[in-house]
Amino acid sequence: MNILVCLKQVPDTETKIKLGRNEIDTNGIKWIMNPYDEFAVEEALKIKTQFPGSTVTALSLGPKVRVTEALRTALAMGADKAVVIDAEETLDNFVTAKALAAAALKIGPFEIILAGKSAIDDNSFCVGQMLAEFLGVPHATSISKATYEGDRALVEREIEGGAREVLELELPCLLTANRGLNTPRYASLPGIMRAKKIAIEEISLSALGLSGADQKIKYMDYQLPADRPSVKMIQGDSGQQAKELARLLREEAKVI
């Protein structure tokens, strides 16, 4: 089985966002692999164990100087190959998905394509589905359980209100991972050593026939959230606090 895992580097969850001139100031940001993509990498490695002889290729788009770090992590976890699409910081989801699709066709074919359900920086929840459409394969998002047979995947995904649906997809297919799918492994020391020796293949955006001019969306006027008015502390014993809080929520805030 040939498995592709798409991954993105995002600012660490502890990051305090500062604004730069046109967008955020990326100086001093610590970059990590998007947490949902870790589940995708782990899932790929599990499939490889189930189907010996499979190869796992990790693919990432972004400035190569930093995203190769995330690819090294995937290699250290056990991926066989890594490919970087070198691109500037701010490409929209459309160009990202187009580029991933073009790269997948170039280095593929793949039977299973995995990604995280969403990147925790822009929370767009869309690159996986767009990629699936560009590749003409079925998709399932936000999966929390999966089993694989020769030509199909059986997955479970969360839908509204904690309900779940069980889907069967024909391969090739694209799956995006939610928490709960598995427990990502830590890279072992031999894994890290091995990862250092693997050459990361590089593809330029222009080699895929794309450029920043193909973007569909532009962002501007970045703003930090307005300061919230300072908190109103409710005094008294618990009975008085409960009564006063209920009154404020009804009469002042008008939310109940």
């Binding site: 925790i120 929370n123 690159v127 079925p138 969360e158 969306i217 532009k218 501007m220 502390m233």
Partner: protein
């Protein structure tokens, strides 16, 4: 004027609030709707009341449960038939799953999780949070983008005006042959509460709840005010509640009218998921807990004393 088409969702034969809100964003009268898996006259009527001048219906057994391939196929037909260039939806699990696919199919642009939107003669612009609400940015579509797909966060727009336009309903034939996705089973959730991402009121419990058995206190508090119960990651990691209840940067990003944080310290990753809520209440025994910095109302005290009393107060309030 660009025609806007709205992907309509319903539950218990009622159009969802998140769908109705979308009509508020459309100032002109060229608004249509897509309604899949039903031909209910009541639903069409409801869409008519808020201004849909045409409703495209597709009814087929395959649409009974959500299926990404089938819904995308049906929506594709409706969008083509309508000629609309702006496609709006409310950011439900269903719409989030297939809107990006449609955008790719139509060579269009997609923006999700929007908190504000302006639709004018020529342009669609709006606002959305980035970095899990640590900042926001305005967005626009680049010049040559014809098809625009936008998902709004629920609870951002006021309820629409009642317009009562004449509405025509058209049933579209769609072929569902060769779908590569099949729904084998739908396992119903145990909760009758609204989904966290759509709830107008959320009560979330943290490690201060001490154990899974105490979440029934929050269910009791939720009941009179029709709230949905969520949780911090510490609670989910401890296995006290399901993954689906987690609020935060690596859980659900929510922005209800009212968020009540009970026994939650307010770690940066938790705040990222809820700090754009309109009103925030923090109940915590530690007056130094960071959650108070984001709160509208703060209560310092033992939650095990306060929650039962607050439940009585809420129950009394709503019975009047």
């Amino acid at each position: 004027m660009a025609t806007v088409i709205i992907f309509a969702e319903f539950i218990d034969n009622k159009i969802k609030k998140g769908t109705l809100e979308l009509f508020t964003a459309v100032k002109n009268d060229s608004v249509e709707a897509i309604l899949l898996g039903t031909d209910s006259a009541e639903l069409v009527q409801e869409l008519s009341r808020v201004g849909a001048k045409k409703v495209y219906l597709v009814k087929d057994p395959v649409l009974k449960n959500y299926n990404s391939a089938a819904y995308a196929a049906a929506a594709t037909e409706a969008i083509k038939k309508s000629g609309a260039t702006v496609v709006l939806g409310s950011g439900s699990m269903m719409a989030k799953d297939h809107f990006p696919r449609l955008a790719a199919r139509f060579d269009g642009g997609f923006v999700g999780d929007c908190t504000d939107i302006q639709i004018s003669e020529e342009h669609v612009t709006g606002k959305r949070p980035l970095y899990s609400g640590k900042c926001t940015a305005n967005f626009a579509f680049t010049d040559k983008v014809r098809m625009k797909f936008i998902l709004m966060r629920p609870n951002q727009l006021p309820a629409p005006q009642i317009k009562k336009v004449p509405t025509t309903a058209e049933t579209l034939p769609v072929s569902f042959e060769g779908l590569k996705v099949r729904v084998k089973e739908v396992i119903q959730g145990t909760s009758s509460q609204a989904d966290l991402t759509e709830a107008a009121v959320i009560i979330a419990g943290g490690r201060g709840m001490k154990g899974p058995e105490n979440f029934k206190l929050l269910d009791a508090l939720a009941k009179p005010i029709h709230a949905t119960v969520g949780a911090s990651r510490a609670v989910v990691d401890a296995g006290w509640t399901a993954h689906s209840t987690q609020v935060g940067q690596t859980g659900k990003i929510v922005a209800p009218n009212l968020y009540i944080a009970v026994g939650i310290s307010g770690a940066i990753q938790h705040l990222a998921g809820m700090s754009s809520s309109k009103v925030i209440v923090a109940i915590n025994k530690d007056p130094e807990a960071p959650i108070f910095k984001k709160a509208t109302y703060g209560v310092v005290g033992d939650l095990f004393e306060i929650i039962p009393k607050l439940t009585e107060e809420f129950t009394a309030l709503v019975s009047h």
